[in-house]
Symmetry: C2
Subunit: 330 residues, 2 copies
């Protein structure tokens, strides 16, 4: 073997090793190199590096994540709404009156137009009636049973498989850097607690969400929490900072969202003193997921796109920043 | 030296060493040996020993503690009420109408009888008016400034020095055994968050309490959470299980309290499946602290004394179970 060839082979081998090592060392392999990934890595480096002027002690490294559209998909409709519609069908035999009563009639007939016309009030009624009258344990079992069987109409996968691989890596990366992560979702808190620990590694006490009222009672000698068909808290828009303050008791240093329902959360978090981080996922990938922003009932994003960049927020393009969307099927 | 003397000296030295080592190894040195201490150590051993039939995985090792009367004193009145009365005096110059308006007039005049007669409604009004109209950060600073100056009428020490040394050891012991601890208090959540991290080592996100409503607003371009003079949640009696379920999302395996306001919390916790632990602190030490149970407006304990033992709850006698009450003055 000629020396120059030999040297080239060694060089190639070394290069391969170097690339492999870099890949192995990369905590965010599903993110393309680019401005979004760079902003994340820089922020984490700044707040964790001892002696950095932006250093933040570990207990204050709180990060908040929206769920629908930020950690998992939300089209063609919020997955919790798909669950509620399936619940209406399951409960219908016990409620003959639903055949003629809206919005239940529309839900049973799959008449999405009439359902949408029932507005937030109609959808809320649907969710409350189908979610109440049980204990948290019973309700969470119903959710898990549904997740184990129901499938997304387009991707034909279980709903909790439609989580974003790049975001799973981001959660792990932040955790490895001493962050405590809270989910802050407009979705129902007990609906999420049924599955987020297994999928995201986030324990139930780090989930903040909308909720219905509950009461404590001892029934036939058995103490239980009973879920009631009354709204307790709506964790959306201005509700998100309120919910975070109530639950966490201090202002997070990083916030991740995807819609204008997350605007106030990002605004509050990024206006705190010291280094702060805000990020919005922009759904612009019709081929691999969905493309939507200003005109959609689920996950509308307009103000965030207009004002986000001026406020220093990172806008993630699913198309250009993400190498993969979903984890590979097991 | 005669051999027998020599041997005795060696024996004494060995014994001294053994006792010292046992003391050093004892995680609860301020607890006398007895049934209460034994029940705690047995419970912790059972749920943490690998292979034990009662083993509980670490994420499920949730313990809840009441605060007033369980972790710190609550006589001659709840310390937060002492704070509210001092706030009335501090705010009085801006509220000339309080000179003639109850319950403020009574508060200003130190007329505890009229104040007590104003009932829960009157006290609640007092607390809300003196606690609202600021941001959580501003309010917590007011609380910390008060703690740094105000002193308990009998013990002449700062209020946050009147925490129970045996309970500080218990918190540390549980933490060392993988427990996550939440405070679940009828007291105000932001009042506690001002100081519990420093005193108990419990971060703000692990504090559950009563609360007033808040709203998010952007005032002159500055986003803030504003505290409003309206009740949001009362974390007492049946409210405690409700608050725990809302915040933690799973049933704790151990609960610690001292009054009938904690009854439902202990009832719910100890009726779960598997090994559970309930403990009530009985204030029976008039000499070193206070002696009270059935007849007191602050920390009434009757049903717990009557039913607790039958339910397998540990009743702690401050007099007989605790070697020390408060930490030694620094």
């Amino acid at each position: 073997m000629k020396s120059v060839v030999k040297h080239s082979l060694v060089a190639v081998a070394l290069l391969t090793l170097t690339v492999a090592a870099a890949r192995a060392a990369d905590p965010l392999p599903s993110w393309y190199e680019g401005a979004a990934k760079k902003s994340i890595v820089e922020f984490v480096g700044n707040v964790t590096r001892q002696g950095s002027p932006d250093f933040v002690p570990q207990p204050e490294r709180i990060a908040v994540f929206d769920n629908d559209g930020t950690l998992w998909s939300e089209h063609p409709m919020y997955f919790q709404l798909a669950f509620a519609l399936d619940r209406v069908k399951a409960l219908a035999p016990k409620h003959p009156e639903w055949k003629t009563k809206q919005p239940f009639k529309a839900a049973l007939e799959g008449d999405m137009k009439t359902l949408a016309a029932s507005g937030e009030k109609g959808l809320l009624e649907l969710v409350m009636v189908t979610h109440a009258g049980n204990t948290p344990d019973e309700f969470q079992k119903i959710v898990r049973d549904w997740l184990a069987t129901a499938r997304h109409p387009r991707f034909k996968r279980h709903y909790n498989e439609l989580v974003y691989q790049p975001m799973l890596e981001l959660l792990a990366y932040l955790r490895a850097n001493g962050f405590k992560i809270f989910i802050v979702s407009g979705g129902g808190v007990e609906f999420m607690r049924a599955w987020v620990e297994g999928v995201y590694g986030i324990p139930p006490e780090q989930v903040i969400g909308s909720s219905i009222k509950t009461k404590y009672e001892v029934r036939n000698g058995v103490p239980a929490i009973i879920r009631l068909p009354q709204v307790n808290f709506i964790d959306d828009k201005e509700g998100k900072p309120v919910g975070i303050n109530q639950h966490v008791g201090r202002r997070p240093i990083a916030a991740f969202g995807n819609s204008d329902g997350d605007f106030q959360m990002l605004e509050w978090v990024t206006s705190g003193s010291g280094t702060r981080f805000g990020l919005l996922v922009h759904h612009d990938d019709a081929k691999r997921e969905y493309a939507y922003d200003r005109k959609t009932p689920f996950g509308r994003l307009a103000r965030g796109l207009d004002e986000g960049p001026k406020r220093g927020w990172t806008i993630v393009s699913m198309k250009d920043d993400w190498r993969t969307i979903y984890p590979s099927a097991r």
